[in-house]
Amino acid sequence: MELDSKQATPVLNENAPNTFWGILKDFVASTDYKHFSMKLFGFGMFWLFLAGAFALVLRTQAGFSDTGTLLPLQDLGFSTIGYFQAMTYHAVIMFFGTIFTLGFAIAYYTIPTVRGTRHLAVPRLANLGHWLVVLGLLMVAGSNSQYMFTFLIPLKNPASFYVAELIQFVGDELLIIALIAQAYYNKLPNEKFTIPVAFIIMNCVAMGLGIITVLMAIIWTILSPLGGLGLSILAIPNVEVFRAAFWFESHPLVYFGAFMVMGLSIWFASYYARRPIYSEKMVRYIIPVLFVLTMSVYIHHMAVDPIPIWVRDVFAQVATEMIAVPFVLVWTLILITLKFSKPKYDASLLFLITAIAGNIVGGATAEPLQPVPATDFTVHNTMWIPGHIHIMMATFTLGLFFAVMYYILPDLLGRKIYSQGLAIFHFVGWTVGMAAVEAAFKYIGLIGAVRREIAWPSIYEPWFQMAMIGAWLAGISIVAFAVNLIMTWRMGEPMPPRLVPQWVTIGLALETQARINEGTYKEDVVYTRLPYPVGLKVVSQPVVRPPSELGFFGKLKDPFIKLFKREEQYSVGGE
């Protein structure tokens, strides 16, 4: 499968246009799935820098807020309104720009690569969706909106904000439809989805359904007196109905990034451990469970709405707590798979493990946010909530993205990552920096700092300064990441021009091996058009550690090793 490395050229340049107009046309309406994915990665990084810049404005302001003046924003000509606008832009662009776009970039590369179809199913629809998202987000950044919290009606946003959101959500819906089409493109009658593809499809269906309701809510608002266009066709939306429509979309939204890469994370765990996932069958069960729960938990956002108590009990409390079960099961499967495997701890694996830790910590600290009065009083509407969302989005979701991107971007660029050292710096800077932000938010939330504020009493000041330092450290780590990518692109060592990335071949092989081990393998079912070894035990040698290697602690661990039967490791992967 490996070609002559002397002829190595970046894969990205394959069939690439070489005239200005050709490049421009390819940029505007990419038909090659790799080019389209690269375009999305580029925009995702742009949104990351833009939304990150707004974040640094907010953190720096809060770091100096105890003076009661608008320093340093005031020196820059900002006002209180400017501060809340920056908060709006940070949140909207980080979600719908950075996480959505990077998630789509990964998915649009993953599906054709893993399935072996290697074509965009509906390139025009996908490109149209992408450019609508770009237009919508640029409109958001120019909308002068202070109220990203659209569910806070009858607070009134500028009309341009609602229109911008409408355009952006239509774009996202088109991207989702095109991505689902990608999974069914040229689908063989006996073809089934691999784990990464199955997660992406589940995710797209959930988000696609959610976006429909939020679109209805936005259109209602535009047609109402709140819309600002003077149409006044519908009455001002009922607060509760609007909130329901908003949150039906917005809770799947927070899982969107994670589910996009959860299947890939399982693959990478297998890849690092050099053994199949502990239970492929269990993963298959978990996917629909996650779908049902992610569509159910949104009611916990409606804590002040007059809905029947039994509905709250079932959907808000039970469902919200219950979603921890499949998440913990996935992490259990990954950690059991990695356990005793002695993987190589590079930036990608470190990001993956830290993301898992982030999800567990973030999930556990979400419990007090449930509508449980006894504890809810303590932290609801405080900085505890931004602390929770930053753990889930920055450490967990973006952490998983970075883990995956260190594999996918070299594939797309056709070059090895320029500097592993910079990658480790990226990991340390991002993890430590965001941990400082999150810990500071959590603590001041616990002692009463209200969120969505511009100035706080001086007792919170040291913690806001800690958050400010952490935010700048995370920002610097992102600069290091970007520099590493640019250096990779321009100066990275060319990779052997494989027809199929190594992690895909091994992922397919290990997933199939898992089915063989579990007795669910069917010869008449295909998962890809790509060739890959079926039956690792036939083509590779199990690596069994001799008992003599077991020291004192090894002997202590031995019963657990036997419990999980994880002695065998397959010597696949070569390098």
Partner: protein, 200 residues
């Protein structure tokens, strides 16, 4: 132990943990006032909470950008006075947009250990119950609690608005001195003291 058994047991452990947490929290599900915890919360329910024994009633009207108390200190509609150690039923509404009625802990004010608060949603009436139990009073027998809006409710063109939307709750001792101070500050318009279970 085979793989299937490991996974089934682990899944059951996780599931039962969640169920146990739910059972533990069940008594708190919008149950209104809990004497054991001295807290209560209403979630736009039609019924008021069941409160056993005496309680005081204070109406709170939230609007951009102030809290208006009834009863309130004469000439200061954003300041009210209640008695310590008698649960206070705050009946909260909003006349414009969504606000948060959040009683905060701050260094220079009295502390109740944790924060508490409720939402003021236009079109609905919420309630919260809290039993103020200050341990420290100033020389004039007052303990002050700071109220702020905890839900973003907009700012004016000049930047004032939500960040500066606040109020004060003054707690006086539940004795003749305290009642005298309360009566003087509220110009005789004391919060009604009710008894027993309140329904409908």
């Amino acid at each position: 132990m085979n793989k299937r058994r490991v996974l089934v047991i682990w899944t059951l452990i996780l599931f039962l943990t969640v169920v146990a947490m739910e059972l533990v929290f069940t008594p708190y599900d919008y149950a209104g006032y809990l004497q054991a915890n001295n807290v209560g919360e209403g979630v736009a329910q039609a019924d008021r909470p069941n409160i056993q024994g005496q309680y005081q009633v204070v109406y709170v009207t939230a609007e951009q950008w102030q809290f208006l108390f009834d009863p309130h200190v004469a000439g200061s509609p954003t300041v009210t006075v209640v008695r310590a150690n008698i649960p206070v039923l705050f009946i909260i509404r909003s006349v414009d947009v969504t606000h948060g009625f959040y009683v905060n802990t701050e260094g220079q004010f009295a502390t109740q250990g944790i924060q508490f608060g409720g939402m003021a949603v236009p079109g609905y009436t919420d309630y919260i119950v809290w039993n103020f139990q200050p341990t420290v009073y100033t020389s004039n027998f007052q303990s002050i609690y700071h109220v702020m809006c905890s839900e973003y409710c907009g700012v004016t063109a000049h930047g004032l608005g939500h960040p500066w939307m606040d109020a004060l709750i003054i707690v006086v001792p539940n004795n003749s001195t305290g009642i005298s101070i309360q009566s003087q500050m509220l110009a005789g318009n004391l919060p009604p003291i009710l008894n027993g279970t309140v329904g409908g």
